[in-house]
């Protein structure tokens, strides 16, 4: 753990101690340092401490995957990962997929007009990016398996499949 400092918040009336620490994490290629409780989920570190609001809060208990990010290239639900657990890791959020919409998945998502409300789509794209790293040419069954944790409340699943296939083909 690359913790670079600790701060104990001590409550004189109860004697309770909450440990705060400063963590260095690498987000979208940039080193960031944040002061947080060790058990603060990565989601809230990203959203509230770093202002990276592309990762969405949908449930906080791992039931919707709107908060998915890549941790060392692997998809994780950021609401289920504590900051202390990722201090050594490299994290990619939707903002790090590309800011110029040049990533094949982003292009395919726009071309196939996938989003409806759009709230889940960051998580879906992250999951698709994780999948394509493992399987550059996934089948429908591969897609269904890799994305089955992800709720799209608007029902864009069919277009998600189409867009992933298009991105995989490189002809988005």
């Amino acid at each position: 753990m690359r913790t670079i400092g600790w701060r104990a918040v001590y409550h004189i009336d109860t004697g309770e101690t909450h440990i705060m620490a400063v963590y260095k994490i690498k987000v979208n290629g940039t080193e960031k340092s944040v002061e947080a409780a060790a058990d603060m989920p990565l989601l809230w570190v990203l959203r509230d401490l770093l202002g990276l609001t592309g990762s969405k809060y949908g449930c906080g208990v791992g039931s919707c995957a709107a908060c998915a990010v890549l941790v060392d290239g692997k998809e994780k639900k950021s609401c289920m990962v504590n900051i202390a657990d990722v201090a050594n890791a490299s994290i990619t959020t939707i903002e790090g997929i590309s800011q110029d919409h040049s990533h094949p998945l982003q292009q395919a998502w726009i071309e196939h007009d996938v989003p409806q409300c759009g709230y889940c789509q960051a998580g879906q794209i992250i999951a698709a990016a994780g999948l394509l790293k493992q399987k550059p040419h996934p089948t429908d069954a591969d897609i269904d398996k890799a994305l089955s944790d992800h709720i799209c409340r608007c029902g864009t699943y069919q277009r998600i499949r189409e867009a992933i296939h298009a991105a995989a083909k490189g002809n988005a």
Partner: protein, 689 residues
């Protein structure tokens, strides 16, 4: 809705004033996005603003002001398309800006009932056409020619000699042209370049790079987050609060009582959530502490009254169906940001009714409405939930106590347990068919909790079928579970079960369910969607054992839908195989959007057919996340085929129309596969009849 004539430059300037107040604060990120780049609100030169909905900058950027909430139905795109078409604009230059509450002087900005397009499309087109005629007049003046010798194409005015000027180049001169009045000529459909073309949603770029701003993403300096400890059951009242432990959670800055509970306010959302967990709150349970779903279900069944009499000698068909409470479960939970200070209140909210939010805040704060500004963010799913502004109310209450900017965040369990629910209902049917299989009676008693309509009073049966002696009565029982508008509202109940029962009638008559329906329908458009659904699905073609097809149709909101669902039931498990979705919504402004609405409504129909159910125990909603309020996921989603009927009719509504015929098509397919009827939703194999 005010028309072109009185929505002039003056009212537009008022809009710009309201909208740019946020920019002036330097804290509200623009929700303006465009097909090209972020629309400038920064340009040095004033734009040409022919009316409240359009502004054109000298650099050619065009901004369309959107006065409805986009919760995923694509109205920010389709409204911009309507304006751009008549303006004859270059689509790549079009951006949108979301209007705040009442800022265009439009009466009632609520979004719901599939009414946005049906109510606004002509006015939006007129706005575009009017602006176009002013640009043509500006070009004619510049060149000293007759306007009749000029035409437009893709953002340029072109003279018969071949010379041309862009709209941007004409913006300054156009300011001096008179705003057209009287009848404004609109384009013939044959001349459409934008309407009717599949168009990618205008917010897609912002969505896929993470920059789209939903309610929870609003950034205000010094923003505090609040999470609320809420009643443990309906009707409970607050007794005591011990907030000592909550105050000790790092980041917690305050604990305040509000009307809906006890709010823990912190510098970040996680601390607020931890602080709420650390609160010790006691409640008096009140009268509903023993309320549960079985009791409500029993009381609904007990409320069934007399049916309309059936003719003597006819074969009687009877069935009763049960539907559960449904939550909206929008993926973005309820949230709102408010900042009350110096006699003013600023709100940023993902709401379907910004006007009501403003009025509600003004009443709560005892402030004139013009001291309350409501900014509308993007909305992470609505489905009717955000017609209620309870979450806005909470943010205002808390900020009013702290005089600081506060964002109220509902956790997922807050959201599922404090919704305004699609009511649970019981539907008792009695119909009859004569000796040749012709239906001769139809009686439907729809009983809701909470009740709706006047019990025992038969009205129109609300069916598209020619059946004599038909009627429906609505009633129900009281329930503390609050009523809410849910996709397709009452049709999510009445038409769902109607389409199940007509299938049972067809079976009793010994008729094919497609032909039976078709023979009873007068409306050609409804007949047509049924025909296309049957044709595309291969209706009647043999299926392997354990497989089934079900059909259903719906007419409403000015549109027509039909569905055929194909599934298998093997080893007691339903597998969805294919969904054929047919829609006639009149003119499809954005076919990609129409198709998306059909896909989404189909997803909702499948989810509520197979999974979704809100239950009540000990006076409280049981479900707390998507683990127990299950929605359909990608691995269950069958292949969806959407067929859009070419139509010259006026545009109809799309948000709701695709939903009501999906669930019954699933239920009827289960019957086709198993010979057993679905009488209770969500479908459970051990409950088939």
């Amino acid at each position: 809705m005010k028309t072109m004539n009185n929505l002039t430059r003056r009212s537009f300037l008022k809009v710009v004033g309201g909208v740019t107040a946020g920019f002036a604060l330097g804290c509200f990120p623009s929700t303006a996005t465009s097909a090209g780049t972020e629309t400038a609100a920064k340009a040095a030169t004033d734009p040409f603003t022919p009316n409240a909905f359009i502004s054109i900058l000298p650099n050619g950027q065009i901004t369309v002001t959107i006065t409805r909430t986009d919760m995923g139905q694509g109205v920010r795109t389709s409204f911009a398309m309507l304006v751009a078409e008549e303006l004859d604009a270059d689509w790549s230059k079009i951006g949108v800006r979301q209007a705040g509450a009442s800022s265009v002087g439009e009466n009632g900005q609520g979004t719901g009932g599939s009414s946005s397009t049906t109510s606004m499309h002509n006015d939006l087109r007129k706005m575009g056409a009017g602006a176009r005629s002013m640009l043509v007049a500006a070009a004619a003046k510049t060149w000293g020619v007759d306007a009749a010798t000029c035409h437009t194409d893709t953002g340029r005015v072109i003279h018969s000699s071949g010379k041309s000027l862009t709209y941007g180049e004409l913006a300054e001169t156009a300011k001096g042209m008179p705003v057209p009045s009287g009848d404004i000529k609109l384009k013939a459909r044959a001349d459409f370049k934008i309407i009717g073309k599949r168009t990618s949603r205008i917010d897609n770029k912002a969505v896929v790079d993470g920059s789209a701003i939903y309610g929870m993403d609003v950034k205000v300096p010094g923003l505090l987050r609040a999470v609320i400890s809420r009643r443990p059951n309906y009707g409970a009242t607050l007794l005591t609060v011990d907030d000592a432990a909550a105050h000790k959670v790092p980041g917690v800055v305050d604990v305040v009582k509000i009307s809906s509970g006890v709010a823990v306010v912190a510098t970040n959302t996680w601390s607020a959530m931890q602080g709420r967990d650390a609160l010790k709150v006691t409640w008096s349970p009140g009268p509903n502490a023993m309320l549960d779903t079985p009791k409500l279900r029993a009381s609904l069944k007990a409320a069934v009254g007399e049916h309309k009499p059936t003719p003597a000698g006819a074969k009687v068909v009877e069935a009763a169906y049960d539907l559960p409470y449904l939550a909206h479960a929008t993926l973005e939970p309820m949230n709102a940001t408010a900042w009350v200070k110096d006699g003013e209140c600023t709100i940023w909210a993902p709401t379907q009714s910004p006007d009501s939010a403003r009025g509600e805040a003004a009443r709560l704060l005892n402030m004139p409405e013009d001291k309350v500004t409501v900014h509308l963010t993007l909305v992470g799913g609505g489905f009717g939930r955000r017609s209620m502004n309870d979450f806005v109310h909470e943010a205002v209450e808390i900020s009013n106590q702290l005089k600081k900017p506060v964002q109220v965040v509902w956790s997922r369990d807050d959201d599922l347990r404090n919704d305004h629910y699609r009511p649970m209902s019981h539907h008792a049917f009695r119909g009859a068919v004569d000796s040749v299989g012709k239906p001769v009676a139809w009686s439907h008693q729809a009983l809701n909790a909470p009740g709706r309509g006047k019990a025992g009073k038969f009205g129109e049966a609300n069916i598209p079928y020619n059946i004599p002696n038909s009627g429906m009565t609505e009633g129900g029982v009281s329930s503390p579970i609050p009523f809410g508008y849910w996709r397709s509202v009452e049709h999510s109940q009445i038409h769902v079960v109607n389409e199940c029962f007509i299938d049972e009638m067809a079976h009793a008559a010994g008729k094919d369910p497609f032909k039976f329906r078709h023979d009873l329908i007068d409306d050609d458009r409804l007949k047509k969607v049924l025909e296309v659904a049957a044709e595309k699905s291969g209706w009647g073609a043999p299926l392997p054992p354990g497989h089934g097809r079900g059909i259903a149709c719906f007419e409403g909101y000015g549109s027509y839908a039909a569905h055929v669902i194909e599934l298998s039931v093997i080893a007691g498990k339903i597998k969805l195989l294919r969904a054929v979705c047919v829609i006639d919504c009149g003119l499809a402004i954005n076919p990609s959007g129409v198709e998306a609405q059909m896909q989404g409504a189909c997803s909702d129909g499948l989810a509520t057919a197979l999974h979704a159910e809100i239950t009540v125990d000990k006076g409280q909603v049981v479900q707390t996340s998507y683990f127990d309020y299950e929605w359909i996921r990608i691995d269950e989603m069958p292949k969806q085929e959407v067929y859009i009927i070419e139509s010259n009719a006026e545009p109809g509504g799309m948000g709701e129309t695709g939903y009501p015929s999906v669930m019954p098509a699933v239920a009827n397919a289960v019957f086709s596969a198993t010979g057993k009827r679905v009488r209770k939703f969500p479908i459970r194999m051990n409950e088939l009849v």
